[in-house]
Symmetry: C2
Subunit: 363 residues, 2 copies
């Protein structure tokens, strides 16, 4: 989704992809292993700035490139906090950012103690590699995370798990921020994110009834994290709004994020264009919303009876104002194969249109 | 500019380009001669639908492909009227479409007679190959088009020039239409197009004070042409609004057109997305405008003292709500290297912002 923004700005984009199939839309794409320094170094030779659409490029690779003078945004100093959830919790704690209760867990005994202290349950997370609900588990006893402890032992590098209290939240919010290397910061309005089975299903922008205190708190948290962690590019801060009206940081992502896809159609400047402006250290575009309400619904899995083409034609015919985005991926259970954004004055109507269009993909 | 729309729709796009330099943003691009049947046939083998961003693919090539079963949109039967201005005038005349007075001119004597009948001047056009003011000349005597007559003689294929009355027009309008193979038609609001030196410089959408009779006439003309000529894809009809309040057809283009670039940011569905939907025979997207006013200003030539990158950064800093589109072309006098679109409630403000941003590229 960065490609359309790059084409419009006349920015030549090159992609180091994991495999051939990802290159359909993109010229000058290299295929290779992003964990291999020589591969990434070769790729970096032909670009002005290196950026990412995931957080998994190893610190060692990033630090070697920076040492060699490659422009890397976000840089490894910032990215480590999006790569390792324990480091993130430690760092945000030192900044006084509100978070769920959490603990570094090395043994089953520590986890059982944490569970006992937190009402008989806890959310356990692997520090690295999780996304979309993977590497996250709600447990009532350490035995339910047994293989994660075994993996820690086998790894033998002094790793640990992260335990968090199971937050009694009213809803989930997300604050999208962008920051330039020169320090400028820009924010989009805080949004509501509706999760299903640990995966983002819908986003409402802006978050209803959040114009006052919640929006201010979310903006302050997002700004503090972007500045203190030295983020360059887009930062998404996933938040809980608790039943007792606190705003707590759930997760961080240092890249354009699913909770910001609505900006492609709903904001003057999309998160993808803003990310490009940020990593190129160009002045930011305006982040006002184009419609009073925008709603984004993910297309998860895709149709099973119909073909994707049939679903597309039906959705287009039924909802001519809906903006349909398809990722060129084969439908597969749970896979994000696209999203739909609608906008307008009446939230109920906007939600209806987005869901009505998405329904054709959920036959 | 078709690429971003294709990527968002998950449509794989392939391009037969004239030369290597055009392929930067696009994968699976072939380079070759679009006038050579074997080249185009080879290219067409891997695509579902063939379409164009100019009108210069020869009729013989197009007709051979259609005979072989290739889906070509717009097809040669329609495209001939965008390729040959004399055929266009003849065909529109048979449909009773309002036009400037015109004549088929084979000799200097015929042109001088036409000039004498039309107040001492005429617009002379070559039937083929003209664009952006090229192949168009205002003359007061046939001698001023002497080399065009010589070229006709040398060509020896019974060609002719087109003479048109010099229309006393108040302003220029453009009506953008899209039509599907299955017959559906959709229209954007008629726009005002401001030309400088024969080249489109600015577009105001919708055309001010044209909501009533002018808009209806423009829509009727656009619909009639699209239907009667069997256009598939986007059709742009350039129009004169005369000082005596007639609407006359000036030129046709059967592809996304400069007068429709505002739709990328200003319409729910851009002309590029709609063109793709049309040639794939998918249902149309809504064509309502996203802002009460949109203004598009072309970046012609580009900066000379500043670099393009410097001008870009200055324009972005000065006008954060302006949408900047750069084509990745080297600045050169008169060359269209990009455009800027602004939108909002107050036309004066919207025009100011677009011109202010564009000014950085005209140092």
């Amino acid at each position: 989704m960065m490609v359309p923004a790059a084409v419009e700005l006349g920015v030549e984009i090159r992609v180091l992809a994991e495999n051939e199939g990802m290159s359909a839309a993109i010229a000058a794409t290299a295929v290779g292993d992003y964990t291999d320094l020589a591969t990434v170094r070769d790729f970096a030779r032909d670009v002005d700035v290196l950026t990412f659409d995931h957080e998994h490029v190893p610190q060692a690779v990033l630090r070697a490139l920076v040492a060699e003078g490659v422009q890397v945004h976000p840089g490894p100093d910032a990215l480590q906090y999006a790569q390792d959830k324990l480091r993130m919790r430690e760092r945000l704690a030192s900044l006084g950012i509100p978070m769920p209760d959490w603990a570094r867990i090395e043994t089953a005994e520590e986890l059982d103690a944490f569970i006992a202290d937190h009402g008989g349950h806890a959310v356990v997370k692997t520090a690295r590699g999780g996304y979309d609900g993977k590497g996250v588990r709600v447990v009532t006893s350490a035995a339910q995370a047994e293989e994660w402890f075994l993996a820690l032992d086998e790894d033998g590098r002094g790793g640990a798990l992260l335990a968090e209290e199971l937050v009694d939240f009213r809803r989930e919010l997300a604050q999208l921020v962008a920051r330039r290397p020169s320090g400028d910061i820009t924010l989009w309005p805080v949004v509501e994110s509706v999760q299903k089975d640990g995966v983002c299903a819908e986003v409402i922008a802006p978050a209803p009834s959040a114009a006052g205190r919640e929006a201010e708190m979310a903006a302050r948290i997002g700004t503090t994290i972007a500045e203190e962690l030295g983020v360059t590019g887009v930062l998404a801060v996933e938040l809980f709004e608790t039943t007792d009206e606190r705003i707590l940081v759930n997760e961080l992502a240092m890249r354009p994020h699913n909770t910001g896809h609505w900006t492609i159609d709903g904001s003057t400047t999309s998160q993808f264009e803003q990310h490009l402006r940020a990593v190129l250290d160009l002045p930011f575009g305006a982040t006002g919303h184009r419609d009073p309400w925008s709603v984004m619904v993910n297309i998860l899995g895709g149709p099973t009876v119909r073909t994707l083409d049939e679903a597309t034609a039906l959705a287009m015919a039924d909802q001519p104002t809906a903006k349909l985005h398809l990722y060129g991926k084969e439908p597969r259970p749970g896979r994000k194969v696209g999203h739909i954004t609608t906008g307008g004055d009446d939230l109920d109507e906007v939600v209806f249109q987005a869901r009505a269009a998405a329904a054709f993909f959920q036959d």
